[in-house]
């Protein structure tokens, strides 16, 4: 009997039922959440530290930091700053100009290419082309920059001359002096080549989400591919494509090395895109950083902050559009 009683006593008490995670899970969840927050923390820290360094410049210069188009600093023999004028107006114009050219050229090519990949190519050709374009998206900007400078420049300069000759009556195609090398036009084309793989793959993803039943319904009603694309694919993917184009815009605005190598960075507002002078904020930072004193570095930090906020806004908008319109059919 004693043995049996022992047995009965040794049966463990029923476990308490609870939905509370165990200690190990609590730690796990805490660590993972901490890791998950890293993107928020890093983005916050970038904004914070660039502000700490740059905010006094923004306070001193006020709104003229954005509108002013001069970047001058005068120092005495002890490297004390006597007088300074910092304004990124010209570079802001240059950033916009090159990025808009890139979009203007790159986006139609990307959309047409994505249409080809989604609705015309098939089998091995498609797989090959898709991986080739993905590969191109992984090319470093350095490569695009020096290829643009050594190889692409000659052709692009020739095209610029042609445009100037035949369309020169339009103000933006005029040039003050016939210097066509290293112009915003050429930089914009190089940026276009850089964003094509990105915009193509996003457009392809958007097109792939078009509901198959609607595509087949259109074909069943006797649509050709053109009418099917116009009636189903484009209305469906419009927002997503705009989002993809904006992601390309974000990349084009923040590009440093390719613009620095291809473009003749000159600190002046230049709207005439065929003329060989211009720049963007990122290339300004790279150009001025080498010889900048402490005070000027702070100004460059402020410029970096503006660039950061600008690309952040563009990326947020792009992401919003891609997600809002891209997932509708799933």
């Amino acid at each position: 009997m004693a043995l049996l009683e022992d047995r009965v006593n040794s049966v463990p008490a029923p476990r308490e039922l609870t939905t509370k995670p165990r200690r190990s899970d609590q730690i796990f969840r805490f660590v993972v959440t901490l890791g998950g927050m890293s993107s928020l923390v890093i983005l916050g820290l970038i904004a914070l530290f660039l502000s700490i360094k740059g905010i006094h410049i923004l306070n001193e210069k006020g709104f003229s930091f954005i509108t002013e188009s001069r970047w001058e600093v005068v120092t005495d023999e002890n490297q004390e700053v006597i007088q300074s004028t910092f304004g990124i107006g010209a570079m802001l114009v240059g950033t916009m100009l090159t990025a808009v050219i890139a979009l203007f050229v790159g986006v139609p090519i990307s959309i047409l290419g994505a249409l080809y990949l989604s609705f015309y190519a098939s089998g091995r050709v498609k797989t090959f082309l898709v991986s080739l374009i993905d590969l191109m998206a992984a090319f470093p900007s350095l490569l695009f920059g020096f290829w643009g400078f050594f190889v692409f420049m000659d052709s692009a300069e020739y095209w610029a001359k042609l445009i100037n000759k035949y369309l020169g009556f339009i103000p933006i195609f005029q040039v003050p002096t016939p210097i066509f090398e290293r112009s915003p036009f050429i930089a914009g084309l190089v940026l276009a080549i850089m964003i094509i793989p990105i915009v193509t793959s996003i457009s392809r993803e958007i097109f792939a989400q078009t509901p198959l039943d609607r595509i087949q319904a259109a074909f069943a009603l006797g649509a050709t591919r053109l009418t099917m694309i116009r009636a189903v694919v484009i209305p469906y993917g419009r927002g997503g494509i705009v989002g993809g184009a904006m992601l390309g815009l974000g990349r084009a605005m923040g590009e440093t090395v390719a613009v620095y190598t291809v473009l003749n960075v000159v600190y002046a507002v230049n709207w005439q895109m065929l003329f060989g002078a211009g720049g963007n904020i990122a290339s300004l930072i790279l150009l001025k950083f080498g010889e900048a004193g402490a005070y000027e570095v702070d100004a460059l930090m402020a410029a970096g902050l503006i660039l950061f906020l600008l690309t952040l806004v563009v990326n947020f908008a792009a992401d919003f559009l891609v997600n809002r319109f891209g997932k509708r059919g799933r």
Binding site: D25, A138, S141
Partner: protein
């Protein structure tokens, strides 16, 4: 009558282009080419550009006319879009081929047998090519990437796990922020490290600083790929783990992550491919050395992008240009290897 006499129709594919269709479209393209050739030689238009534009215009016109005659106006309009979409893909491919061809043709001149054996400590960029090599650059790039990977892989993986396993209320905003982070301009990453670490704390440029800057660019790529990969792991596995009495931590660590191993390797490879050629932050924070430096914590460090940059911008002679392209060739080969292995791994999985 036996069953063998019944004629079984051969399976056909009526929607595919028949041989005569292919021949006809081929002839259209050829005739458009001939027409272009005549036009270029007769009119004052000339050059590659004229050939290209005229050829495409005449293909569009010829194809339009052919479809208009043989079919109807709808088919003719349709043919315009298909020709234009081919134009789009051709315009995308030309730069790719041009870039790869340029790098190989110009790069191999700068190669020599000792290139991975020597550094540039005793040679300037304008010296004869045999005088120096890019040992320091390759080692520096490896170290930069390795240290960056040590930091960004755990963070990226944790972000991926948060998005797929915890699925908390913050999932949407975090996905949003990861996407936004992937758009941070590389130069801003460099400025951030300067303002947050170098000026207030270390006051010296080193390889570690470069790795920190690269980490910022690498995390979003790894996080997004890791999320995609973990999403592919079927929920059955997670439920099986939990049903067997495992805690979530054990399920994730011993079931989900091991199951996604090859996919996570792809994430790492894509992350490396993203940063291996990144130049702007490297120029700002690593200092850039010509001597082999294996200590990422101290002293300036060379890297492939810096090597290429220096060769092109400070040289100007034939030797320095050849050096730059050779560096580019090595960098491109690394990217090819990384990309090829990523495709191989993900291809094997599916």
């Amino acid at each position: 009558m036996s069953t063998t006499d019944i004629k079984i129709p051969a399976p056909g594919k009526p929607w595919q282009a028949s041989r005569s269709d292919k021949l006809k479209s081929f002839l259209t393209v050829i005739s458009a080419g001939i027409f272009t050739f005549i036009l270029v030689n007769v009119t004052p238009l000339k050059g590659k550009l004229a050939y290209f534009i005229l050829f495409f215009i005449s293909v569009i016109v010829f194809e339009y006319i052919r479809q208009r005659i043989t079919r109807d106006s709808q088919a003719a309009k349709d043919s315009v879009l298909s020709t234009l979409s081919i134009l789009g893909i051709v315009l995308t491919l030309i730069p790719i081929f041009s870039i790869v061809l340029t790098v190989f043709v110009k790069g191999y001149k700068g190669l020599h047998w000792q290139i991975l054996n020597k550094d540039m400590a005793l040679a300037s960029v304008n010296d004869p090519i045999e005088a120096g090599g890019l040992l320091h650059a390759v080692l520096g790039t490896f170290l930069l990437v390795f240290v960056a990977l040590l930091i960004s892989f755990p963070v990226g993986l944790l972000t991926g796990i948060y998005l797929t396993e915890i699925r908390g209320t913050l999932s949407r905003p975090i996905r949003f922020l990861v996407q936004a982070m992937s758009g941070v301009p590389s130069i801003v990453a460099g400025l951030f490290i300067l303002s947050a670490v170098i000026y207030p704390i270390t006051n010296s440029l080193s390889g570690l600083m470069g790795s920190l800057a690269l980490t910022i660019l690498m995390i979003p790529t790894i996080a997004r790929t890791a999320e995609e990969v973990l999403k592919l792991i079927p929920d059955d596995l997670r439920e099986a783990g939990v049903a067997l009495g495992a805690t979530q931590w054990r399920t994730v660590a011993m079931v989900v992550v091991p199951a996604a191993k090859s996919g996570l390797l792809t994430a790492v490879i894509l992350g490396i491919a993203r940063i291996i050629g990144e130049t702007a932050p490297i120029l700002l924070v690593t200092g850039g050395a010509d001597k082999t430096n294996l200590n990422p914590f101290e002293g300036s460090m060379g890297s492939l992008p810096f090597y290429i940059w220096k060769a092109f911008l400070t040289g100007g002679t034939e030797q320095s240009i050849a050096r730059g392209w050779a560096g580019m060739l090595i960098l491109l080969i690394f990217i090819f290897i990384l990309f090829g292995s990523a495709r191989y791994i993900s291809g094997r999985r599916s």
